[in-house]
């Protein structure tokens, strides 16, 4: 047993309202530079839909991820090491910019500069790639909310697999949102495809990163990742990917996408796993067995032997504690409601999803039946094959049984809790029908529905003795350490790096853990004029007056 720790995420899809806040805040934090316009570390797809980049899930076309060779051994789907090197001069599987979209801006200046004229001047779209006027024809979420999907949705690779049953008629549609970040896989094919070895998995927390100083722009990782979550910065000529906001994680803060998620649907925590078993599990012959195989790789953090081995592997005690309280472990292994995205790619993804019950609930509600009745819900889950099979294509390589089981648990939770909320006697038969005790069901409800901040995020910070050099604290960083600015002699961004601190740690933490909207009462000196209504003196600006005023 070789215990390793992995920082992982679970998203509860029922709660996603498709608002794209996560994508936007992520972009503001990480990819608002030139060359990264089209790069969305976090993107939200409407499913059924083509995804971003278009049809990335069609691995027969894009050849991402792993497959088993004839001897049952793991092999990169795009070909072995030699073939990889032979195709380095021109990557045959690299999506062109059109598969993403041509980023653009608007010629805003004409709005103010235009001479007096009969018609209102318009700001025309200008391509950020060629600089020319362009026609906007696609973007990162062009088919949002099934927009235009009568024309495009039939190209959804997952829908194709169950296509014979689907007539894409509007009355029959179902829809949900799928927010995606890099999976920080246990067996990352991006890293395996990188000729220079610049992509690495951090030993401490499993975060997969691109070493910007070692990347040589061979752009093999882009095609190697089946989720297409490595992007090529066309200005700097380097690959970039989601960093799991490691500077924030190191100080115990959740990622930007999770922190700002409107639906509060993201969970972050540690998983302990047995690194010796990863390869074997990923080589599982039956694709539908991969979900279970991956679950078997995870270790029970309460098992004394695991704790002992974790200690031997140098994992600190507070990290083991955090692993025990991990919402991820609970959702994946205790309640078994979270499923991996496309386990059949064999990369062992570590961002898991709780599939949405809402397509089913919506249908039941439309029929006028009671959508919070176990009988109705269970019957609907059994009857509504198309949404369920579609979910199975996403999360279990097509095996509907685990998806059924999860949906029934979610349905049972709904019904069981309704009785409680209506002041009726809880019905113990409901949890029993899905193999849970009443207490478990209530705990799961707490985690999924109440979803307290500190239950959603159990992130042990890196150790205090290192704190001074953590990115987020930056107590010692002075601009002069970084050459005082960029000298781009060899093109965009060349020269020594600048630090990437995101936000002030103390301030954020105070805001997150306080009960009031303005800020912690006991921190009187913090001034926040945004919340001042203009009457009287703003709180905190002047020292408190005497009691008589």
């Amino acid at each position: 047993m070789r215990v390793m720790a992995q920082m992982a995420m679970v998203m509860n899809l029922d709660k996603c309202i498709g608002c794209h806040t996560c994508s936007v805040t992520c972009k503001q934090a990480w990819t608002n530079r030139s060359g990264t316009e089209y790069i969305w570390f976090n993107n939200v797809e409407t499913r059924p839909g083509l995804g971003y980049p278009r049809t990335y899930e069609d691995q027969e076309k894009w050849q991402g991820g792993w497959e088993l060779n004839s001897r049952g051994r793991m092999k990169l789907k795009a070909g072995g090491r030699f073939k990889n090197l032979m195709t380095i001069f021109s990557n045959p599987k690299l999506p062109s910019i059109n598969e993403y979209y041509e980023p653009w801006t608007y010629d805003y200046a004409t709005l103010t500069d235009a001479p007096a004229q009969a018609h209102t001047p318009v700001a025309r779209p200008k391509s950020l790639i060629s600089g020319n006027n362009m026609k906007i024809e696609w973007s990162a979420n062009w088919d949002d909310d099934l927009g235009g999907s009568t024309a495009t949705a039939h190209r959804d690779p997952m829908l194709k697999k169950i296509a014979d049953k689907v007539k894409f008629e509007f009355e029959q549609t179902f829809m949900f949102y799928l927010p995606r970040i890099c999976e920080h896989c246990l067996n990352p094919s991006c890293a395996a495809s990188c000729p220079s070895g610049a992509i690495y998995k951090r030993e401490e927390d499993g975060i997969v990163l691109v070493d910007q100083d070692k990347c040589r722009g061979w752009r093999k990782c882009v095609s190697g990742c089946p989720y297409k979550k490595v992007y090529f910065n066309h200005r700097t000529g380097k690959a970039e990917k989601c960093t799991f906001c490691f500077p924030r994680i190191e100080v115990g803060l959740p990622t930007v996408c999770a922190e700002t998620c409107v639906g509060r649907l993201r969970y972050i925590g540690l998983i302990l796993y047995d690194a010796d078993k990863v390869l074997e599990a990923a080589s599982q012959e039956d694709e539908q067995g991969l979900y279970e195989a991956q679950r078997d790789v995870f270790l029970d953090p309460s098992d004394p032997e695991v704790i002992r081995e974790a200690e031997r592997a140098g994992i600190a005690r507070d990290w083991v504690d955090a692993a025990q309280r991990s919402p991820i472990y609970a959702l994946i292994n205790t309640y078994k409601v979270a499923l991996p995205l496309h386990p059949e790619y064999r990369t062992m993804p570590m961002v898991w999803y709780i599939p949405p019950l809402s397509p089913v609930v919506d249908v039941v509600a439309e029929t006028g039946e009671d959508a919070e009745d176990t009988g109705n819900l269970f019957a609907a889950i059994d009857a509504l094959r198309i949404p369920v099979e579609y979910l199975a294509e996403l999360f279990t390589a097509g095996d509907v049984a685990p998806v059924d089981a999860v949906l029934k648990k979610l349905g049972a939770m709904r019904c069981y809790m309704r009785d409680i909320n209506m002041g009726r006697d809880p019905d113990g038969a409901i949890p029993a029908a899905v193999g849970m005790t009443e207490e478990e069901m209530y705990d799961m409800y707490r985690l999924l529905a109440i979803a307290k901040y500190d239950e959603r995020y159990v992130i042990p910070p890196a150790h205090a003795e290192q704190a001074h050099s953590l990115e987020e604290l930056s107590t010692e960083c002075s601009v002069s350490d970084y050459g005082g600015g960029q000298q781009d002699v060899f093109g965009e961004g060349s020269g020594t790096p600048t630090p990437i601190a995101v936000e002030n740690f103390q301030m954020l933490q105070a805001r997150q853990t306080s009960d009031s909207l303005t800020g912690p009462e006991n921190k009187g000196r913090r001034v926040n004029l945004l919340n001042w209504d203009g009457k009287g003196s703003p709180p905190g600006v002047f020292p408190p007056k005497g009691p008589d005023s």
Binding site: L85, F89, I97, S130, W218, T236, E471, G495, T498
Partner: protein
């Protein structure tokens, strides 16, 4: 004059080549990349780049054999002057034509594809000028010198190659070069010019040719590097203890 052209200039170029690479590697690891433009354009690149690069690999290999292996060695293993010549000319022609055609496609693509052209730096243009000149002169020497024998036969293995080895051994013999045909002299000079600018162009990518990929494990694990959390080193005096 020949001392200057074939001793001083080459050594100056060699020095910038070596020192330039060391300096660039220290100062600008972040800029050390192919700056791939495949995202912008793929149709022409798909043909041009492999043609050029595989041709170029042949050309480089040919130069290594031709310049570094003395004639006496090949004679000693029983390869006749004639056989060597035929093999060299045929091999050189094939890889040379591939390189030239590939390069023509690449340059055409750079000039005509809007996004690629606007991503082209001044250094790219200078580099292509030297590269194109060196390759054209090299082709000319092969065709004119060895096939059409314009201006008489010239065995570079007894001239240029010997000079090159004497140059590498720091006992340069400029006369050998001074007596070579003009085509060879120009080719050598332009090539040294290319070496001089090499470290300051995207050609640095050649020195990170990923040969290690063949043997390294697929997945790279790296420790967080506690001396360097985040993207910068701790200041002096703040090093971690224990």
């Amino acid at each position: 004059m020949s001392e200057f052209l074939f001793v001083v200039v080459p050594y100056v170029c060699l020095t910038t080549f070596v020192v330039g690479h060391l300096w660039r590697y220290r100062y600008d690891k972040f800029g050390w990349t192919t700056r791939s433009s495949q995202l912008y354009e793929n149709r022409l690149l798909r043909i041009g780049s492999p043609l050029f690069h595989f041709g170029m690999l042949g050309v480089v290999g040919g130069h290594i054999i031709g310049l570094l292996v003395p004639e006496s060695w090949t004679n000693a293993v029983g390869i006749s002057e004639r056989t060597y010549h035929v093999v060299a000319v045929v091999g050189g022609l094939i890889s040379g034509v591939m390189t030239v055609v590939g390069m023509a496609i690449l340059i055409y693509r750079r000039r005509t594809t809007g996004p690629v052209f606007s991503a082209t730096t001044v250094m790219d243009k200078v580099m292509y000028a030297f590269l194109a000149a060196a390759i054209t002169l090299g082709m000319w020497n092969t065709i004119a010198g060895s096939i059409l024998t314009i201006g008489g036969e010239y065995n570079y293995r007894q001239g240029v190659s010997v000079w090159f080895r004497s140059f590498l051994a720091f006992q340069p013999n400029a006369d050998l070069m001074a007596n070579a045909p003009l085509g060879f002299q120009l080719h050598a000079l332009v090539a040294f010019g290319l070496f001089a600018i090499w470290p300051f162009t995207r050609l640095v990518h050649v020195f990170s040719a990923p040969v290690g990929y063949v043997t390294r494990p697929y997945i790279v694990y790296r420790s967080r590097d506690d001396t360097r959390l985040g993207s910068h080193r701790p200041r002096r005096g703040w090093d971690r203890v224990g």
